[in-house]
Each structure stands twice: as C-alpha cells, then as structure tokens.
Amino acid sequence: MRQDVTPPTIGTQSPEIMSKIAEKFVSMEYGPAIEDPKEALAWLDGHQRRFGHFINGAWQPPVAGEHFQTADPSTGQELATVAQGSAADIELAVKSARAAFAGWNSLSGHLRARYLYALARQVQKHSRRLAVLETLDNGKTIRESRDLDIPLVARHFYHHAGWAQLLEQEFPGYVACGVVGQIIPWNFPLLMLAWKIAPALAAGNTLVLKPAEFTPLTALAFAEICQEIGLPAGVVNIVTGDGRAGEALVNHPDVDKIAFTGSTEVGRAIRKATSQSHKRLSLELGGKSPFVIFDDADLDSAVEGLVDGIWLNQGQVCCAGSRLLMQESVADKLVAKIRTRMETLRVGAPLDKAVDVGAIVAPVQLQRIRRLVEQGIAEGANCCQPAAALPTTGLYYPPTLLTNVHPSSVVVQEEIFGPVLAAMTFRTLREAVELANNTTYGLAASVWSENINVALQVASQIKAGVVWVNSTNLFDAACGFGGYRESGYGREGGREGLLEYLEPKWFKNAPPVKNEELVANSEMRPTEPAGAAIDRTVKLYIAGKQARPDSGYSFPVHAPGGQLLGEAPLGNRKDIRNAVEAARKAESWGKATAHNRAQVLYYLGENLARRSEEIAARLARVTGEEQARKELSGAVERIFCYAAWADKFDGAVHNPPFRNVSLAMNEAIGTIGILCPGEAPLLGFLSLVLPAIALGNTVVAIPSEHYPLITADLYQLFDTSDLPAGVVNIVTGRSAELMKVLAEHDDLDAIWCLSSAQNAAQVKALSVGNLKQVFTNEGRSIDWFDPRQGEGRWFLQHAAQVKNIWVPYGE
C-alpha cells in the first residue's frame, strides 16, 4: 500500500505572491540554462564582424570584393560578413599552398608533429569559444558542440601529430600527394575541418580548404589559431564562399587531390569535373543508414541509441540511423518506447544547455525536410511527432517518427538529413540484412542484439564502411570512417585515412605511359568466322564457360609484323552484361576462406608453370621471345605473391579512447571491372586480376588489345585450377567500347583502368552512375616486371575497402 508523504506546504501566501522559487519547486521544470555567448561574440567583434580569406598566413580581402552574411539559424540574427571566394581567390590560395609545399614537406615528421600538437593544444585552450561559435553559426546544441565536436577536433589533431611523428617509419616509400583541395559540409563544420586538415598536414601536404557557405566561422577561427601557433604561411589556406569557390578549387589545375565531404549529388559532379585530370579523389557522401534492432536487444538502450542516431545534430548527420528496422516481435513495444522517448526530447535554443534538438541550419534545409515528410505522408506514412510546441521563431523541425513506410517509400530511399526516422519491420536475420542493404548508399549501420553471434553476423553482411554494434554515431581519430557504394570512397581517420593523403614515391615519379593506342589492333573489322590456318578457336569466358560472343563476329589479331595470329571474339555490351551477372553470382568466392583462395591461386601457378613453354611460344609472336619468357616467369612469381597475400592482408584493431574494440576489416569491394594494360598481355592481366581475386572480389576483365588471344590460355588455366565459375570473366573486343559499358554498369563496384590516360579519363567520367570506385594509372607508366611497382600492398589496397566494426564490451 502506498503511504503518501505530504509535500511541503507553501505557507499561507496566495499563489500571486508565492516566491518564484516556490513556483518552480512545484512545477519542477528545467528552466533556461543558456550558455553565455559573449566571448564568442566579442571575438567576432574583434574582427569587426567582417572576414576575408586566409591566404598565405594572412587575411586577404576577396579579389572580386564580394561578400555574404552568415546568420544564427535559431534567431535569424546576422553574425558576420564573410568573403565570397572566386576563381581569383582560389588561384592565390593554391599558389600560396604550392609555394609552401616544398618547405612543409621537407620538414621532418617530428617538426610537423610539433605543429599538429600545437594545433591540438590551441583548440583545447579555446574550446568553449569554438563550441559557442559553432553553435551560433550552425544551430547545433551547445551540448553537442561542447561535448562532441570540439573534443573530437582536438583529439584528431593529437592523433595525427602522432602520425606525423611516425610517418617515415610506418609508411616507407610513401610521399605526400602535394597540394590538396578540401571542401567540407556544414553539419560538423570544425570537426570536418579537423578530419580533413589533420591527416593532410601529417602526411606533408599543404592545402586549400573551403568551409561550407552556411558555417564558415569556426574555420576562420581555426585560421587564426594557425597564426597563433606560427604555422608556416601558406600551409593552410582557407577560402570561404559558396559552390562557385568550391568549383574553382576542384577545377584548379595545380591541385593534386580533392577531398570532399557533402552530398552524393555534388560528389558526382566533382568526380566528373576531375575526370580529365590526375587529381586523386576521396569522397565522403550521403547515407541512409540502417538501424537494426533484434528481439533480443536491450530495447531501452536501443531507443537511446536512436536518440543519438537520428536526433543528434537534428538528424543532419551523413551517417544518421534514419532507417529503423525492427524485428516484428518487438515492433509494437519499440514504437511505444520511441514515442514515449520523443516526448522528453527538448527542442529549442541551441545555446540552452538542457536542449536536445537545436535549429536546422538553413531555410532551404528546413524546406527540404518538410517537403520530404509531406511526401512521405502523402504516400501513406503515419507521422508521429511530440506534442510540445516548437519555438515560434528560428528554424526548427520536431523529432519525427514515420511508420507504415516501405522500402519503396521516398522517405525510406532518400536521405532527408533531418530528425526524421522511418521505421519498418523484418522477420529474420536474413531479411534484416536484405533490407539494410536495399539502398544505394553504404555509409554506416547500427546493430542491436545481446547475442554476439547475431550482431557480428549482421555486421559482416551489411554493406557499410562503419558498423556500430549496440552503439551508434561513435567517432574517433584512430578509426576509419567512410562509405561503400554511393556513400563515397576513401576513409578518414586511422591508418586507412592517412593513406588517402599519401602516394607511393615511385608512382608519383613514374613517367607518362607511351601512347599505346596505335600499336593495338586498331583495324578491328569483323571477319567471317572460320578461316584456313587458325590453330584454335578463342571464345569469351563467362561464368566458367567458354562462350561465343553475342555479336557472332570475330576480329583478326595481328602480330606487330602484320601476320595474322588468329581471331578473337568480338564481345559487345550484352557479353559485358552477362559477364557482370556471372561475376555477381560468384560472390560466394568472397566468403570462401582466404586459405582456400590461396590454394586455388597456388594451383593456378602450378598449372601455368607446367604449360609455360607453349604459352610463351604463342605470346612471343606479339611480344618477342625475351619478353614472353620474362612474362611467363614473372607471372608464376606474381601468382605466388598473391597466393601468399591472400591470407595475410590483415585488418587492424583500432584503439579509440573507450572500452571497445574497433575491428578494421579489409573486405572485398565486390565485383570489379578491369581494363588490362596493353604492354604486357599476360603479366599485366595477372597483376591486376590476381590481387582482386586474392581478396575475394570477382572480376570482369578486358584483356590487352595487343593480344586478346591470351584469353584462351587463361581460361584453360582457370578451368584446370579449380577457380570457381564466374570469379574471373573475360570479354574481348573493342576495349574502348567494352570499357564504356563497364564504367556505366551500376552493378559493378569498382573499375580499374590501367591503360591510357584517355581511357582513364573516360572511365572516371562514366563511373558517376553508381559512383563506383575508380583505380587508374593516371596516365603514368607502371613497370609490370618490377615487383616493387607491379605487385603488393598498393594493389591490394585498391582491391579492398575497410569496414570498421565497433564492438563495445563490458558486463
């Protein structure tokens, strides 16, 4: 039975004159707890609330004299006037970065480490000012900027001070890319800056960074920090402005690498814009990340996970867990819990320390959220929002749960980038994985189950660069972050992230490739099938079978001297289609054990060695005897090399600063299209196909146009070496035409083109459909006979993508 305790009485006073405190004693409301912005505003005032670009270590007014205003989204109040960057500003900034490169790059790792350490320290010393500034400019809550963004910024610089120190020992043979252009989004302005700048500087690059138009202020504060610590002029340049400035940076001919974080749409445009150049590219794009809850999960904790997953930063998070997948048996309970939890989320002034959901960054974003949710409702979604009213001014959107949505719903397919959760159910683990992967994105996933078998099984099967087990939105400088599929390529953080800012020294200095097109069988006119002196019939190799080309045509293959060597099948787009389908079907190759794959490769080596004489004899007709011999002996060795690597390309266990293991797993990319180099018909083919299949990828290869007849030798080898059907598929024909089909194929995960610069440019431009990963020789020549160039980790890195699985533990 309950024994009621009489609450203290408030005396005899009437409520009118009741003390303000007594009133609150009764209501037990939180009341406002506003972080005082005066220091941050004083800093803005100190700059007369007007900023130029930060170029060559000094503030520079924009060349064109154009400015724009940045405002507080929670009040609409103008904060400062900032410079609109133009091509002329970018020109100055890139020049300054280029001028600073030699000096910065020649510093010892230790000296660079000192600068990075100083940046970390200086960020920490001014952490509150930076946090308040971030909140003012972005609308995110002060709790997040104070507890999440800024501490992670400092952590990123500390961690990379360490990489600068260790660079020479840990990355021997690697050098900086050069001048890097970096474009960052508005959702985590200073954090994204740190993710970009810290590894670039650690690796010895200089850079030009363009912060997002909506949120330039903390980048400018960071520029001042660079001055304060005495960073050499020109090492970091910051140009503010809208997409025009970004475009100028992307198109600048003297930029060696572009690193971009933002929308998939802009990522595509950048891929296209850089296709004619040799700029390296890393893209961290959008997502529609699944949040999977199994019936044996700690449901209350999972609901809190959702708070951090979809309501963090108003859901304006690329890896937000925006697609909720609930096991049917707990769906009702979960929805009830989520709805209850939504009621206690406090939406309001971002500077209020007791607010969970702040303001949306800009009117255009708010409109987008509204439009998509309305569209969802029109499609039949049930929309649930908390009862509390939103603030009357400022850009706010309430936490939102949409049920009765389907994989076909627009709110399930499109990235909303707002506090909107779309909930669906699943019946089995298999269906959960299927639904989780039913998206063009692949950035992150969160999996909740108390059964480690279930959690890790799902983590291994979800196509995403980051998987959080029983947790969500955890970030650390030591762990790689980045996506699969249309969420981009490249990683940020950890060893894998640093590699994005490094290149093998030999590759950077490699001479341009000779124009090979002329030597090829350019006279590829069809001939009548069957001829007099043809020693054997060459076919395509698809799904483990020799296949006639769909066209029904063959083409003659001539030796350099002009004599007819034979005829090769003239493959067309349908043959490519069939080959990709076969390769996709053979994906279980990736699930075979690495030991098993190594065995197949060794067997391949054994069989090639046995037949090397006859293959060399045939090959010699195009390459001459000497090269043919070298190719054969090199090929056997290369096979052994990748058989050796198959079970040794290990991942890592990262060490973020809490009780957790982060497993950085090297996973196969999937199905790769490979355009083989012309100069070494056999060795070139194997140098690319072997690393791909050693790690579990499946391949569609287009052999060298010089000698497509090698196909016949290859498939006989594959057939006799127990290589499962479909793991390697070979289509011969007009390589430019076949390559186009491959580059445009949306079911191909990567395309490698190591032939001419012209082909490389075309492949890059055509890859934008599904943003497949592109690996090219950038028009540089690779010596396939030199193992330091033609084999090893560099190729394996292109054949794998790193998945970071976060597994917190503890009982």
């Binding site: 309950r2 609450p7 007594a22 037990m28 707890a33 700690d298 009702d332 409702i377 159910t425 503890g810």
Partner: protein, 351 residues
C-alpha cells in the same frame, strides 16, 4: 501525446516488412504519463519477466554519462530543485556509534534542514521545508519518533539483518515486526544476495513477500545491495523480483557496500520500475542510497528520475535519497545562491 496523421495507404495490404500501428494498443504500450498508476500490491512471480531482462552495460553507461550532460538547471530553478531534493531525503545515520542524542540532533536538522535566514533571502519565509524521513537502526526508532513528532517526517528503520541480511529468516522477520510495533512508518529491508547469484528467483520472491507481510501497513523499501550484485543484469532481475513480491520502493544500497548508488545502477532500476509499471499499472518508488554527497549529484538524480520516469517520481511518495552529507552541501549551495558568497561548513547547523 502524438500528433498522429493517418492517411489512406496506397500500398497493398499484403506488404510485408512494414510497420503499421496496431489497432488496439496493448495496455503495456500506453505511456506512463497517460495512465493512472496504483500503488504496488505485488503480482505472482512471473519468470518470463526475469528472462526478458536485457541490459547492455556499455550502452547503458553511455546513457548514464550523457544524461547528466544533457540537462542543466540554473538559478531559481536550481534552488527549487535543491529544495525538492531535500524534501525527498531520508536523512540517515547508521553508525556503530549512534546514540539517542545523535538521532535527536538529526531529527532537529530534518525539521529545519535549511536555516531560516537563507529561506528568507530566497523569499521562502513561510515555506515549511522538511526532509521526508529519518532513517535509523531499530534501536533508535523510538528516539526518532520523539524527535520528529508532529512534523510529518516519517521514521524509517533498517531491518532484516542489515546490512548483509544473513541472519536467520525468523529473526529477520521478527526484526521487522519489532520495528513496526515500535512505530516505524517505513522499513528498509535487505535481500539475500546469494539468491540472486544462484538465480533462485522463487526463494528471493518468497523472502521479500514474507518481509512485506511482516511490514503490514508500513512502507517497505527493498535494498538490493547493487554493489554486491556485480552486474547490471543482476540488478535488473532482482529489481523485477522485488517489485513482483510487493516492494513499495526499491533501493540501491545499504551504504555499506564497496560501491553504492551509481547512475548506471539508477538507470537500470528506474527502467525496471518503468517496465513494471507498464506491465502492471502499479508504481514503485526508487531510493538511491550511499555515495550521494553533493548538491550537483542530487540534481543529476532528480533529472534521471524526471527523464526516465516522469514528474510523478520527483516527490517523496516515489523518490527518496538515502543520504546525510548531501544536505550540508545543498545548504551551502542555497546560501551561495541567496547571497552570492561561497559559504563554509561551520556556518550551518550540523545534523
């Protein structure tokens, strides 16, 4: 509670893997804020509820760590919350050197927990603030009753072989009876921790139900000894059993274990209370005890209650602090708030 917009669905009814709100909601799915909860009468032991317990320690620790950074009360609100914390205090003395005079002094402090001068400066002259209860060993029940007479302050006795609970059952039950006969309003009992380790849920249930019966009309707080139970899952399971067996309150610790009331433990227990209330429509109170010494901690615990269980659990009927030193710190904070000057211990009457 939710603005819910229902629209005609364009999708075929046969769509699988999509979620539709069920037509009639199971009572256990209705939020607590929308239910009229009854005092706990207990329910038969339901082992399914024990089996259903899932606690992910890491996730729970993250929630506990960020819960306190997500909320902040300042100025008038903070003063009000601190006063509320006092009103929920079980002002406690459980030392070997306790004497009647010591207990009477405690009672006097409980009746006037904050100096009148400070209350006046806060505009609360006529505010009749007092602690919720005085918590003592059985020996001092009579003294405590004398000391609190006419104040409305309850007297709580720790019982059942406190703090280890290892004396024979008959003696433990006898102890409860004697304290109830002596006039104690509330009995804080301890459980046999070994039952939890061995998963002897029926035995644990029976033990607590026996205590409850012995308590009669007195209010029973069940101390789980969470520091001894070692894992959060054990805490959750023991909480469930205690509630099913009729606990009016579940309480973290005796104050004598190596680890006392921590926020993660508090979170597990409040979630268990929520689950139980969802399932049964009955409310159980919560008492963190031991290790809560500062005004700041009191605010953290109050905001934990508000966030996880709602405003109903922000008063002494359903929430108590087991503490002693915390009061001094709160009084100092209130004086600082009233005067703008930091105070010193010796300037406040001790308990």
């Amino acid at each position: 509670m939710c603005r819910q917009r229902m629209m005609e669905s364009f999708s075929p009814a046969s769509m699988e893997s999509t979620y539709q709100m069920p037509r009639s909601l199971d009572a256990s799915l209705i939020p607590l804020s929308e239910r009229a909860l009854q005092p706990n009468r207990g329910v038969p032991l339901n082992l399914d509820w024990i089996d259903a317990v899932r606690v992910n320690t890491s996730a729970l620790e993250r929630r506990a760590a960020t819960l306190v950074t997500r909320r902040s009360v300042k100025k008038d609100w903070q003063a009000a919350w601190l006063l509320r914390a006092i009103s929920c205090m079980d002002l406690t003395t459980l030392s070997g050197d306790d004497t009647e005079q010591r207990v009477l002094r405690l009672c006097a402090k409980g009746r006037q927990p904050v100096q009148r001068s400070i209350l006046k400066q806060l505009g609360l002259e006529s505010f009749e603030l007092k602690v919720a209860a005085i918590c003592v060993y059985h020996t001092f029940v009579e003294a405590a009753l004398r000391g609190t007479e006419g104040s409305g302050i309850k007297v709580a006795a720790v019982s059942t072989g406190f703090p280890t609970g290892l004396s024979p059952l008959a003696e433990r039950v006898g102890e409860i009876r004697r304290s109830v006969e002596a006039g104690a309003h509330e009995i804080d009992v301890v459980i046999t921790r070994a039952h939890v380790f061995a998963a002897r849920w029926q035995a644990l249930y029976d033990e607590i139900a026996t205590f409850k019966e012995a308590c009669g009309r007195a209010h029973m707080k069940v101390i789980l000894g969470t520091g001894d139970l070692a894992t959060l899952r054990n805490v959750a399971r023991a909480s469930m059993v205690a509630m099913m067996a009729g606990a009016d309150f579940i309480k973290t610790s005796t104050g004598k274990e190596a680890v006392n009331a921590t926020l993660p433990v508090g979170l597990v227990m409040t979630r268990a209370i929520r689950e139980y209330a969802q399932q049964t429509g009955m409310s159980v109170g919560f008492k963190p005890a031991g290790g809560i010494r500062t005004a700041k901690q009191s605010l953290e615990w109050l905001s934990l209650m508000k966030e996880e269980l709602g405003d109903l659990w922000l008063n002494a009927t359903l929430f108590r602090f087991g503490a002693s030193g915390m009061l001094a710190d709160i009084e100092r904070q209130l004086e600082y708030y009233a005067t703008g000057r930091y105070s010193a211990d010796y300037r406040h009457p001790i308990a």
